[in-house]
Subunit: 216 residues, 2 copies
DNA sequence: AAATTAATTCTTGTATACACGATTGTTGAA
DNA sequence: TTCAACAATCGTGTATACAAGAATTAATTT
């Protein structure tokens, strides 16, 4: 566990929310959480404050904390922004690419290839994250990298749903290949364009998302 | 003051940081803040937790909170992301524009015209904010609007410095005019391109920023 | 005099106590 | 039976108390 209980609780509760253990709309009772984790209310409250600031929960004065339910439309908006930020990261990566970043992207890309060809969607899910993180890092913009990583985390549950869709694995991987080519060729505009398309949710993929969200 | 002390303190301290009363690197002593605002340490700590989560301060375990010093390079990175998000907002606004948003943009734009022609840089500073907020709102993406507004707030002190630069007022206003034309014409790509240029810091404007930041 | 170590003070982290608004349940009247 | 008013209960908001680590100062040694 982390150096202080508050921070540890923040991560713990955040994971519980992102892994859908605490459902959207669910009330988070301070006392229940405190006894569950074997601590007092004080660090629990501090954790909740932080989660409120991040936007994962909402604390209504005197009425407790509830997990925020983004709803399909807002999730769509979040993907829209994510696509834009990843596009920027890709274009910067293409322009500023150095050897270390290039190697990191190539390595994660080939790991994606293996898990995709093996049809292992759980492994691909993980490797895919590493691939995208490698691109964020290659942008050489620490702020952008943080923003991307944070939004990426928040969208994690929905991305997981998406990978379940038929053929999504091989489609995703071939898109990755094109992105890698563009970045390695130093073509920032093309990398941006491809990443926008790769990350964003267009057309029927949006109805897939809505359907899978409604199914829970 | 807000309904609960913690939230009020968060806003209060946040403003003090953004208005440069609490300087980057400065230590924020819980007891000092508590006595200053006439409250106990508890709500102070909750406020600090939130500011840490937002990224305005850093709480080092057992060693207290300090105001984060972004430094010129990171501020540049933040403007880079801001430019991208505003570009997206502008392109969405152009595509989705309705009467209400159109009127709001036109109104704030004409207010900018007045303060610019009057050479009133303080008034322009305020009207400029409203103009940009009108574009965020016109994007009809609540999430994007929030992200833009938050980053806009954080960059406020640095934008204020920029407006002091010679001729910046009239230059800024004429850029606004072109942006409004593009949005009203429904030309999303052009609106995006213009906003990126308007918000981003290119060439000598970066050295101006560095110089003005170093001057403090 | 400089440096290292020990002791003291100060600040943060967590628990607990208390106050007050919100919620819920009960009683009584229409 | 339904609704309203009141009472009791429960949960959150804030203050205070206590424990423990970090910073600082004093003391001792080289």
């Amino acid at each position: 566990m982390s150096e202080n209980v508050g921070r540890w609780l923040r991560d713990e509760i955040e994971n519980s929310i992102l892994s859908n253990e605490f459902r959207p709309g669910e009330k988070l009772d301070e006392m229940v959480l405190a006894t569950r984790f074997g601590v007092s209310r004080t660090p629990v409250r501090e954790a909740l404050m932080q989660l409120d600031a991040i936007g994962l929960i909402e604390i209504r004065p005197r009425r407790g904390a509830v997990v925020i339910d983004p709803g399909p439309h807002r999730v769509y908006e979040m993907f829209e922004v994510m696509a834009e930020l990843e596009g920027l990261a890709g274009s910067l990566a293409a322009r500023r690419l150095d050897k270390a970043s290039r190697d990191a992207i190539a390595a994660t890309h080939s790991r994606c290839e293996q898990s995709a060809s093996a049809g292992d969607s759980d492994a691909y899910y993980y490797d895919n994250e590493e691939f995208h993180k490698a691109i964020y890092a290659a942008s050489r913009s620490a702020f952008l990298e943080e923003q991307c990583a944070q939004l990426h985390r928040r969208l994690r549950p929905y991305r997981r749903l998406q990978l379940r869709v038929r053929n999504r694995l091989s489609t995703s991987f071939s898109e990755h290949s094109a992105i890698v080519d563009a970045i390695f060729a130093g073509d920032g505009d093309e990398a941006r364009r491809l990443l926008r398309g790769h990350v964003g949710i267009q057309g029927e993929r949006f109805s897939d998302l809505v359907a899978s969200m409604a199914a829970r």
